[in-house]
Amino acid sequence: MRIQEHPILGTYEKGKLVSFTFDGKPLEGYAGEPIAMALKNAGVMVHRYTRKEHKPRGIFCAIGRCTDCVMVVNGQPNVRTCITPLEEGMEIRTQYGVTAEQPGGAAK
């Protein structure tokens, strides 16, 4: 959920409204904001499922350190979405394990 107005910070500077896809579904966010923020504001919590135990992970540190928020971005796996700026037309996918492979075998 976006904060419309903040008592100390006022309103936030935003980039252009752009569209992107998450697992094929069209979503919108602001250009330049971290991908993770656009997803969070769209209600997406799970960024990936781990390799060994297939457990869900999402945003944890939000500053690019913990690497829990990695996803498949434009076919590239292990992209830290909390520090990668959103661009128009990006294809974001839930990551399963450490590769770009999707369940059912469709890679990239």
């Binding site: 976006r2 100390i8 969070k40 540190c61």
Partner: protein
């Protein structure tokens, strides 16, 4: 030929920028690298007013301090390179940096490592679920990206970070269901705890998280009380429906780069972790490599700025930009300022010590340490709490912390702290309060209230600092909450003052029955009042 600078600074936070500024002032050619898209380190997430005195930029909000430092650095010609990841420090003070899509090699005649800290974490079943986040993550989401971390949040950790972020969460519009901490006492400043508690947030000390619940993301959390051996006491479990669990369990120096650079390191619990050993100028065992800020020991941003300045001065002397004498003189001034900050109950040297009385000999509020607020029966013993006819300040500042803006804020000199910056503020009964409210807005701890205990018509007026939206309007009716955040009586807003000088701290004056003058400390709009 490899590019060479007089000083390479790693990290554009408060320590790094301050060092760069000081070095550039002396004529040094300085570059600052920071991996983030925005400079300022954590300053840009710190939207509260800073403690300290004028020289420590007290009562200025963190992000404004960041803006000031950046402007000063730019003016002095410091090159600040963002999105620049320092890959490593190699022999001969060679630094490799990822810039855009390539790697550059640069050398520094001096290097300042100011990489800051990383957050500690705790484990509990479910701690890897989406919705469990670091307190830093919450700050980043809210204060940089305008994104709510969640709707209902449990905060684990009652240190300053946990308290400040709890307050920020509420400012952003989240509900904080509780602050829990395994320690038996609130770890952060009492004033930070009090401003959270009076909003109705319960504190659970000696409590820890038993589990985070949820399948794909957090839907709830169970906490429980721990015994002396940190084991859960059966039957003390409490469940909260939350979508977010925020972890604020301390920071550790992020010192890997120092280790790589060959600096002698020590694991020092007093500095909260693995740090380079440094001399009084912040110089490590490798001549010409300095460390400042959290990387050399966890403290506040205010201390980091001074440590940075000292390192900048020392580096200038090392390279002959200033004389040894000038260096000693200027460093001594900064040292004195730093010493000023390292006083009081929360000084680095006090870690782990149990304090029972203030420097003035007043018994500490145990309720504040156990529940986050000063109990009614405790508040009267503090020197800032006095009674007189008409409007007067009530200063609920009960711990010795290095902070004195209230003393300067009062144009009538009603408030006295004296030369000892950690002294509790007291009220000069000879001086007359005009009710201007400058003290209320100046208090970084939001611990000052203006009270008119008897307006003559059976009511009292309480003026309190208010930093939430929507801002209540004159005539709004609601309830007054006490220090614990419980509804105590009906209240009506009689005055709301906002001024540039107050810097977003609004002064809300509410009218309450006069017997609640010393109880009512927060206002809440309420339909059912």
């Amino acid at each position: 030929m490899m590019k060479r600078y007089d000083m390479i600074v790693v990290g554009a936070g408060p320590a790094g920028l301050s060092a760069a500024i000081e070095a550039a002032k002396k004529g040094m050619h300085v570059v600052v690298y920071d991996e983030n898209a925005k400079p300022g380190g954590q300053l840009f997430k710190q939207i509260h007013k800073f403690f300290g005195s004028k020289e420590h930029k007290a009562k200025i909000r963190g992000f404004h301090i960041g803006e000031e430092l950046l402007a000063e650095a730019a003016e002095l010609g410091v090159e600040v390179v963002l999105n620049a990841i320092v890959i490593g420090i190699f022999p001969e003070k060679e630094v490799t940096v990822k810039v855009e899509d390539h790697v550059i090699h640069v050398k520094g005649d001096t290097i300042l490592i100011a990489t800051g800290a990383s957050e500690n974490m705790v484990t509990f079943p479910g701690w890897t679920l989406p919705g469990v986040i670091g307190a830093g993550a919450a700050q980043t989401m809210m204060n940089l990206h305008g994104t709510l971390p969640g709707k209902r949040v449990l905060m684990l950790g009652s240190g300053n970070v946990g308290l400040v972020v709890s307050f920020q969460l509420m400012q952003a519009g989240c509900e904080v269901v509780a602050v829990a901490d395994a320690a038996s006492r609130v770890g952060g400043y009492g004033v930070h705890a009090a401003k959270v508690a009076r909003c109705g947030v319960p504190f659970y000390l000696s409590h820890t998280i038993i589990s985070a619940d949820g399948e794909d993301c957090v839907t709830g959390v169970t906490i429980g009380e721990v015994d002396k051996n940190w084991q859960i006491i059966p039957g003390t479990e409490k469940h909260f429906d939350v979508d977010t669990i925020c972890l604020a369990v301390g920071l550790s120096p992020m010192s890997k780069l120092c280790d790589m650079a060959g600096c002698a390191m020590e694991d020092n619990p007093a500095k909260a972790g693995f740090v380079p050993t440094v001399n009084e100028y912040g110089e490590t065992s490798v001549p010409g490599i300095y460390a400042a800020g959290d990387v050399s020991g966890i403290e506040e941003a205010s201390s980091a700025m001074i440590e940075g300045r000292i390192a900048g001065i020392a580096a200038a002397a090392r390279l002959g930009f200033i004389s040894e004498e000038t260096c000693k003189e200027e460093a001594a001034k900064q040292e004195a300022a730093l010493e000023g900050l390292r006083q009081g109950m929360f000084a680095p040297g006090m870690r782990g010590k149990q304090i029972t009385e203030t420097e003035e000999g007043v018994e500490i509020s145990q309720n504040l340490l156990k529940h986050g607020f000063v109990a009614e029966e405790e508040i009267e013993r503090f020197p800032g709490v006095t009674h007189s006819a008409g409007v007067h300040p009530v200063i609920e500042c009960t711990q010795n912390i290095p902070c004195n803006p209230c003393q300067d804020a009062c144009p009538k000199h009603c408030i006295r702290i004296g030369s000892n910056i950690t002294a509790l503020p007291s009220i000069d009964p000879e001086k007359k309060c005009t009710g201007c409210g400058m003290c209320v807005a100046s208090c970084s701890g939001q611990a000052i209230f203006l009270v008119n205990e008897d307006c003559g018509d059976g009511t009292a007026e309480v003026t309190l600092p208010y930093e939430f939206l929507p801002l209540p309007q004159k005539g709004d009716k609601g309830v007054a909450l006490n220090r614990k955040g419980e509804k105590v009586c009906a209240a009506e807003v009689v005055h709301v003052r906002s001024a540039k000088a107050f810097d977003h701290t609004n002064l809300l004056t509410m009218k309450v029955p006069k017997e609640y003058a010393m109880k009512a400390r927060f206002f809440r709009e309420e339909e059912t009042a």
